[in-house]
Amino acid sequence: MTEQIATIDNKTVSVRRGETILEAARRAGLDIPTLCYHRELSPEGGCRICLVETDRGQIHAACHTPLQPGMEISTSSPRIGSLRRDILSLYLSAHPADAFRPSSTGTEIEQLMHRLGVSSPAFGHTAESLPGDESHPYLRFFPSLCINCRRCLHACEEIQGQFVYGLEGRGSSTHLIFGPSSRFADSPCVSCGACVDHCPTGAITDTDRIDAPPPDAVVQSTCGYCGVGCRLDIEVSHNRVTRIRGAPHAQVNHGHLCVKGRYAHAFHHSPDRLTRPLLRTGDAWQEIAWPEAISWLSRRLLELRDRFGPHALGAFTSSRSTNEAAYLLQRLFRTCIGTNNVDCCARVCHSSTALALQTVTGTGAATASYADILLARNIVLAGSNPTEAHPVVGARIKQAVLSGSSLIVIDPRRIELAEYAGVHLRPKPGTNVPLFNAIAKVLIEKDLIDESYVQSRTEGFAELREFLHTLSLAQAAEIAGVGQKEILRAASLLAKNGPALFVSGLGLSELTQGTASVMAFCNLGMLTGSIGKPGAGMLPLRGQNNVQGNADMGGMPNQVTGYQALTDQDVRGRLEQLWGIAPPREAGLTISEMLDAAANGKIKALWMQGEDVAQSDPNQTHVLEALNALELLVVQEMFFSETARFAHLVLPAAGVFEQEGTFTNGERRIQLIRHAVPPPGGARADWEVIRDVANAMGACWKHETPSEVMDEIARVAPKLFGGVSYARLEPDGLQWPCPTPDHPGTATVHSDGFLRGKGRLVALDFVPSPEHSQNGYPFVLITGRALEHYNVGTMTRRTPNRDLLPADFLEIHSTDAAKYDIKDGQTVQVQSRWGSTRAVARVSDRVSPGTLFLTFHFPETHANLLTSPYVDPQSKCPEYKVTAVAIEPLRGEAA
């Protein structure tokens, strides 16, 4: 077939099916001016600036007219030129005289005025200036600058999926509205800022843009909040972070961000940042110099090791800090001290997920990637509320569903994405195992499984089938509190569209049946033939920016860097060669075991890197006792945290924008972070401090840069990281496994068969939590996050996000609220068997009757005074998601 062609400004262009004149022209290097068009958004076709003329005198809008074979297009005939000027002139007629000035450096519309030579409206104008909206902590709207181009509306719909914007009126009175009003503050806006990025006139903008001087530098880095790992462009002026944008072409976030990543950066320059090491003697805190701090600490560590033995010391590596810092800290404890008492906060979040995935697939990490969300035809979301906790992924799931993917949501709460689900199953908290078993039973017995996948790629099917055969569907449904019909609907929807993407969160992991929950979830993944295929597989959403990396680096008591067994001879040989000594063969203690051991005097010293256990760990009363009992507590922190109060030495840490290093996101992608601003005062990067302490203890570590640390990591764990080096990490990092320098990284793990050989199907009995059905405690409490804040709020509480959500809240169903005479906004006393606290009630049918949901962002609430000491017996993950509580409204304390 001969190539079909057309001409644009006498240039011959090939005609591609579906391509618009504008796209073809840009491909040919011709620039047609536009205003309402943005290449990331669907064409609006309203501004008519991109009009072009054919040789037959027809006029077309280039942005939405397909290029047809034989067309002869002129993009800049005199007729078109005058038409464009008149249209732009019409725009100006609807705005105050001083709204826009032609400028080659101004906003898009001002640049267009400059380019087309239009400075004043040819038709006169009548518009008056209108006041701006300043109701929101970040976002601003200036109606006098709004040209109704609707790019904000498209961005909101097509990127975030929030549908905030609309148009009111008709004809010439048509104007932009925000949800129920004309103010950001009253709208359902989630402050993602996508509209700000796309506004061509400055009508929609934000405080960062209004206040910011022109940047001295733009530094590309990775977000320090959740495990999505969005890439950022950080604008810096006079050594301060002035504003942040999503890196436009980043594979992870495609330029998109959330309210935390984009706006919550003020904490870096908070006046209460720690700037000097602090040494405590009795109750007195004293600022000391770094050399003194390093030598004091190294001396103290050696002293305690010699006095109590190496296993009396332990470290919590940080999921917020870099891979390099986590790696060096575990190496310090494993070699300079000689203990495997190293653990990280993955223990208290996704340890169950990692253990389950490792057991059944061979890798303790996501098998799929975020890119699979838009490829998926079928998504199962369980125990995760991504539109709040992982907003960029949440938005993408919404887009996938609105573009035709089916969605099953399994969550006790009616989370936002439940509105988009074909089926929403609402199990009682902590009853995933019987529910997943029931779905698996239906899949098998109705012959809805991928038979050939199960036969060729898995093991344990016969046992599972037999086990499920004896399982009573009615009983399972009863335990989970879900109707049998709903289970049948979910199973048939799951089976209908082929392989599915299984997205999960801490609602599966943080339970006494956490490991079993995730394994049962993986059973569904294997029965439907989903693991190891594009657009499908297991995609647990990781909580912290580097919780994946922290475990990868060896922040685990039973495995060393790269999930290598402590007992493996090859591994030990390699470590001896690289580290000079191999770590002990015996596994160390987990976080909760170390805290228990501290409380009963067996652990004497703990080094806590950026983790505020006094606020974040369960059964807080017990945690505080443990911290109090220590001979030495070292804390590396940016702020004087709740935990720092118990420390003997506090080391001021550099923040995410103040150092170099790498983070590994939830899809195993190792990405660079870059030094954008200097740390305040004497705050230092964690990895440097650890290196110096090790050297002071007698080691001879020669790393000058984090890049050299990564080179060492590649040698220590070659199977996963052998091909990783800083030179390869721009712009989008590498997804491990990446064993060799020429390996491209791995988006889909297990695509050529499971890494452990065969995928393992597991028959799992259900053991209820001890917190289920406690007499006198009629409610089950779930703890979790809200969009505006991040975990214990150390960072977000020091930003204007605090104005968006100033306090924790307790969700309670309206019937329960009525029963206890609790009004919205009233303070409620919450009591568990382990402690009590107060929280402000939010009456909401997002929770079921009998279930409560409490956020844990504010130290005033101490949500973890309530949570129990129970952990998953296999992973040791605490049970944050199920606590039996009683409630009582406090009279006279309505907010």
């Binding site: 004809g171 925000f178 573009s403």
Partner: protein
């Protein structure tokens, strides 16, 4: 990333059934009045649309933000020429009133709809009292004549009321459908193609090829929509067809459904035609109960007061519950229409032709009219003519014959200065231009647009400035607001025409009309400046004082 409001609608359509948001909102407004912000929130949850979308719809459609109990005084072109603006002002002193663009009684202007939905025609007397007089009778059918060799469009309405199923069947309704059901869809489409029928809504697109493209689209669902949004002031044939011959329309739709493979049909009827809505509802019930439609499901969607919704993509948005703004094309509705499914939208008159074509054969049809415009056309004559009413002609008849012989010239014998053809998107035809056959191509060559073939007489002495300002106001109010030339150009033109201060208004207006004509997104913005420019050209001195 692709999700737009359309996807949301498609999504909720698929997941929550076919409840139409606009109908839910309309019922609310009728029962409780204009919703306050709390009620908007509740409504948005009920119809599964964001609050901004509900507010957008409420403010877009006149019926949803104006008092439902108000008397609707027609301020369509014919009525304005008969003094409707003064009538509206006078009526407002007596009762709650609002102006609406055309209630379809142009043959007896001015006219109005009372709060009980009954029409009142004043026949040249612009006095408000009859609007409140309960003794005034509902208007009868307009005069209907045919000068064609074969009477097709008015074959039933010319002889009386065939809205009742028994009467319609007695006259042969649904007999063709029964035969067509035994034909292959391909043969039905071929017959339509060979007949050469062109759409009667104004755009004159060949009906057969529209059906073919939709038949060829693969989909689990398809729709047939009858466009009964006869907005063009000056025409009322569709109103009379829906009221008195609804079964021909339903039969045409069912034939289309058979041809393209659609199971659902929707009759879109503007709210300014309440009696048509009622008659069609009864007709659908009767035909369904009698099992005549087989598994073809029919329903009515009521317009909510928007001229642009007569444009097919705006109509699709309205049915989906969105603002009645036009969509970008491609994709065309035949490929991606209602709820994203392939959809044929045909004008009511177009559909009435369909059973006749299949009954009498494509050759019998194409033998009528001209080669490029086969068949017949219903022409509507307003009260300014000596013999107003509906006139069926064969395409090709001279316009002068229609005006001077068939319509008898002006009602009072004055000279006609011009005739307005095809509503505000049509043309202004001066007497010197009348020697042209009524058909699409010959008229196009002379820069005349037939549109829906409503003819409004402009007798000597007409206040041309009033008429001109009325049209610009109409455009500024009815523009959907999506594209800038139409949205801001109409407003600016109105300001220029009204202002005494503009130094050279004529070139300013000509330049604005030029931008609108060349730059607008849809036919509304592209075509409306046409007749206004023609007026400026012929009567400029009388328009701009």
């Amino acid at each position: 990333m692709v999700a737009q409001m359309h996807n949301v609608r498609h999504f909720f359509e698929a997941h929550q059934g076919s409840n139409s948001p606009l109908v839910v909102i309309q019922q609310f407004v009728r029962a409780h009045g204009i919703p306050d912000p709390v009620q908007v929130k509740q409504l948005s949850q009920e119809v599964a649309l964001p609050e901004a979308a509900v507010r957008g719809a409420l403010s877009y459609y006149s019926d949803l933000h104006q008092p439902p109990e108000a008397t609707r005084v027609c301020i369509g072109t014919s009525c304005v020429l008969a003094g409707a603006k003064d009538l509206l002002a006078a009526a407002r002193r007596l009762t709650q009133c609002r102006g609406v663009y055309c209630v379809g009684f142009c043959d007896r202007s001015p006219a109005a709809l009372r709060s009980d939905d009954r029409a009142v025609v004043l026949n040249g007397h612009a006095s408000p009292e009859p609007l409140l007089d309960p003794a005034v009778l509902e208007p009868t059918r307009p005069a209907i004549r045919s000068v064609a060799r074969k009477t097709i469009v008015t074959r039933r309405i010319g002889r009386g009321d065939f809205s009742e199923l028994g009467a319609a069947r007695g006259d042969g309704a649904y007999a063709t459908l029964a035969k067509v059901r035994c034909m292959r869809p391909e043969d039905v489409i071929s017959a339509l193609e060979q007949s050469g029928e062109r759409g009667r809504g104004g755009a004159a697109f060949p009906t057969g090829s529209k059906w073919r493209r939709c038949a060829e689209a693969h989909s689990d669902a398809k729709y047939v929509i009858a466009n009964g949004d006869e907005g063009d002031p000056g025409s009322f044939i569709d109103r009379v067809l829906i009221e008195d011959d609804p079964h021909s329309i339903l039969e045409g739709m069912a034939i289309c459904g058979h041809a393209i493979g659609a199971q659902k049909g929707i009759v879109y009827i503007r709210s300014e035609y309440p009696r048509a809505m009622e008659r069609m509802k009864l007709a659908i019930q009767a035909a369904t109960a009698a099992g005549l439609l087989d598994d073809f499901q029919l329903s009515i969607f009521p317009g909510m007061g928007s001229y642009v919704c007569g444009e097919e993509t705006a109509m699709l948005n309205a049915i989906e519950g969105l603002r009645g703004e036009v969509r970008l094309r491609p994709p065309y509705p035949v490929v991606e229409g209602l709820f994203g499914k392939p959809t044929v939208v045909n004008n009511v008159e177009t559909l009435v032709n369909v059973p006749w074509i299949l009954e009498h054969g494509a050759a019998g049809y194409s033998a009528l009219g001209t080669k490029g415009s086969p068949g017949t056309k219903a022409v509507c004559l307003n009260h300014g003519f000596a013999t107003p009413g509906i006139l069926e002609i064969e395409f090709g008849r001279s316009l002068r014959d229609v005006i001077e012989r068939d319509a008898g010239g002006s009602v009072c014998g004055q000279r006609l200065e011009a005739v307005l053809i095809g509503g505000p998107m049509g043309s202004v035809a001066l007497p010197s231009q009348w020697d042209v056959p009524v058909c699409y191509q010959a008229m196009a060559e002379r820069n005349l647009i037939l549109g829906h073939a409503g003819l409004v007489a402009v007798p000597e002495g007409t206040n041309i400035r009033t008429l001109f300002l009325h049209w610009i106001e109409f455009m500024a109010e009815e523009s959907c607001g999506k594209c800038v030339p139409c949205r801001l150009g109409s407003k600016r033109a109105l300001e220029v025409a009204q202002s005494a201060e503009t130094s050279r208004p004529l070139p300013q207006l000509e330049r604005l009309f030029d931008v609108m004509r060349q730059g607008s997104l849809c036919a509304f913005g592209q075509l409306m400046p046409g007749p206004m420019s023609q007026m400026l050209k012929h009567f400029g001195g009388r328009i701009l004082q």
